[in-house]
């Protein structure tokens, strides 16, 4: 075979392949369009009923009609129905839940939790969460160790939505396993959804030997407003061996805003701690809003660690007239100490006051 023959044969083969590929794409699209048209045809009357229920019509006849729809028709509107469940509240949501329950959706979803297909497991977990099925909590907790990462995330989210405090311990433990873990921020979000009922499990989590568990527990105690756990969080800020846990404890104390948090936060601000912890302590002191912290924060305005001085300046802004007076004084260079420190303090004070001015201007324009 000559080179020319080989080139001709190659072009021929490529052309045939291109035509075949084109045909597959065209036929594939046509088939998909036909499927979608059929789905839309089936869905049209059911969709109208669905909208009526989602709009808050609690007409029993309409609910019955929707419940009696053949599975094929319901499948065509199932995705819309689930989407609407997430988007409405009040009577409209309650009516939709009735339809799902009477169609046996929860029962079916529970049986789908063990399917080999991870998409089906995730969809089932999601639906059980949306429907708020407490009886599905143990099964969903099992899914926190699922082989598929997305299924684990959906299960965590579903547990947060259901809000049963029984899920607190499994959720906490899901963040710190070597394999098959749930990302910490997602677990924290789900735990926050459990509310104050999760407090006992979270306080116990503060004693976990695993750093990840203690860190999430410290964070979530702040998110759920667990004022009763302040003592345990203060102890973590003072003595936990992990900087990450201490940082989160400082943040939580700022969020909770209790008076006793002042002393450990002022201690964490001192120079013998890591800058990341000192900065968080400064921020938390600002959140507390206690003018008694003004002197300590002013003292670190000229700190060599940028992040510490920056957060101290922002915190002073939140401490009312006394805090602003300290910033103005630092901006004018009136603070004592070496010139280098006064210059740094003046720069941070200038920035904080400028930001406050811009914010004030923005608010004036908005009102």
């Amino acid at each position: 075979m000559t080179l020319a023959d080989a080139a001709t044969a190659t072009i021929y083969v490529l052309s045939v392949a291109a035509v075949a590929l084109g045909a597959v794409i065209v036929f594939g699209r046509a088939a998909r369009r036909r499927r979608e048209e059929r789905r839309a045809r089936l869905a049209a009357p059911a969709r109208k009923l669905l909208l009526a229920i989602a709009a808050g019509d609690d007409d029993p006849d309409q609910i019955d009609e929707l419940v009696r729809l053949p599975d094929e028709v319901w499948t065509a509107v199932d995705a819309n129905a689930v989407a609407l469940l997430n988007k409405v509240r009040g009577e409209a949501r309650a009516a939709l839940v009735v339809v799902f329950e009477r169609r046996g959706a929860a029962w079916r979803a529970r049986s789908e939790l063990h399917r080999p297909d991870p998409v089906r497991r995730a969809r089932a977990a999601d639906l059980l969460g949306i429907l708020g099925r407490r009886d599905a909590v143990p099964a969903l907790c099992d899914l926190l160790r699922d082989a598929d990462a997305d299924v684990r995330v959906v299960a965590a989210r579903a547990l947060g939505r259901i809000g049963d405090p029984e899920a607190a311990r499994p959720l906490l433990e899901s963040v710190a396993t070597r394999r098959r873990e749930v990302p910490a921020h997602l677990a924290a979000h789900a735990l926050a959804g459990l509310g104050v009922g999760a407090q006992p499990a979270l306080v116990r989590g503060m004693d976990s030997p695993r750093e990840g568990v203690r860190a999430v527990a410290a964070e979530v105690l702040g998110l759920i407003g667990a004022v009763g756990a302040t003592g345990r969080i203060e102890a973590a800020l003072r003595a936990d061996p992990s900087t990450e846990v201490r940082v989160r404890a400082a943040r939580t104390l700022g969020r909770l805003g209790t008076r006793t948090a002042m002393a450990p936060l002022l201690d964490a601000l001192t120079a013998d701690h890591l800058p990341v912890l000192r900065a968080e302590a400064a921020k938390a002191l600002g959140e507390l809003g206690a003018p008694a912290a003004v002197d300590a924060l002013t003292a670190v305005l000229g700190d060599a660690e940028f992040v510490v001085a920056h957060e101290a300046a922002r915190a002073l802004l939140r401490l009312g007239v006394k805090g602003r007076a300290a910033l103005t004084s630092a901006r004018e260079g009136s603070l004592g100490g070496p010139r280098r420190i006064r210059t740094v303090a003046a720069a941070h004070a200038r920035e904080a006051l400028a930001v406050a001015e811009i914010d004030q201007h923005r608010r004036t324009l908005a009102s």
Binding site: R47, A55, A83, K87, V88, R89, G90, E91, A366
Partner: protein, 124 residues
């Protein structure tokens, strides 16, 4: 009949809002993006506009500002419908000139009540 323009890129929400408002006796025009909402409002100003905040391209906030800056539409009552519930988001919404702000998930019945309240305020 009182005319209401609804703009939301989410078909489920758009159809639901239109359905509920029509059921309540309003004449509803529904569009799926901000630019279409702006065009429709300028072409034939409705009595009230319901805007989703997060739409691709032109957001509900952008549409709200544009409507307020245009002499022919500056007085239109506008309700923002959004999943963004932070204080700052609400502030931005009202700052853009919205008359009311409804957070998703929402109650369709409450939506109608709010629409009627904003219209009543406008007419007073």
């Amino acid at each position: 009949m009182t005319a209401i323009l609804v703009a939301d890129d989410d078909m489920d929400i758009r159809d639901l809002v239109a359905f509920k408002l029509e059921q309540a006796g309003f004449d509803v025009t529904a569009v799926d993006n901000g630019l279409a909402a702006l065009t429709a409002a300028r072409l034939e100003p409705p009595d009230l506009v319901v805007l989703d905040v997060m739409m691709p391209g032109m957001s509900g906030i952008d549409v709200c500002r544009e409507l307020r800056n245009d002499r022919s539409t500056s007085g239109l009552p506008i309700i923002l419908l959004t999943a963004r519930a932070q204080e700052g988001d609400v502030e931005v919404g009202f700052g853009a000139g919205a008359d009311d702000y409804i957070v998703k998930p929402f109650s369709p019945r409450e939506l109608v009540t709010r629409v009627e309240a904003v219209l009543a305020r406008q007419r007073a």
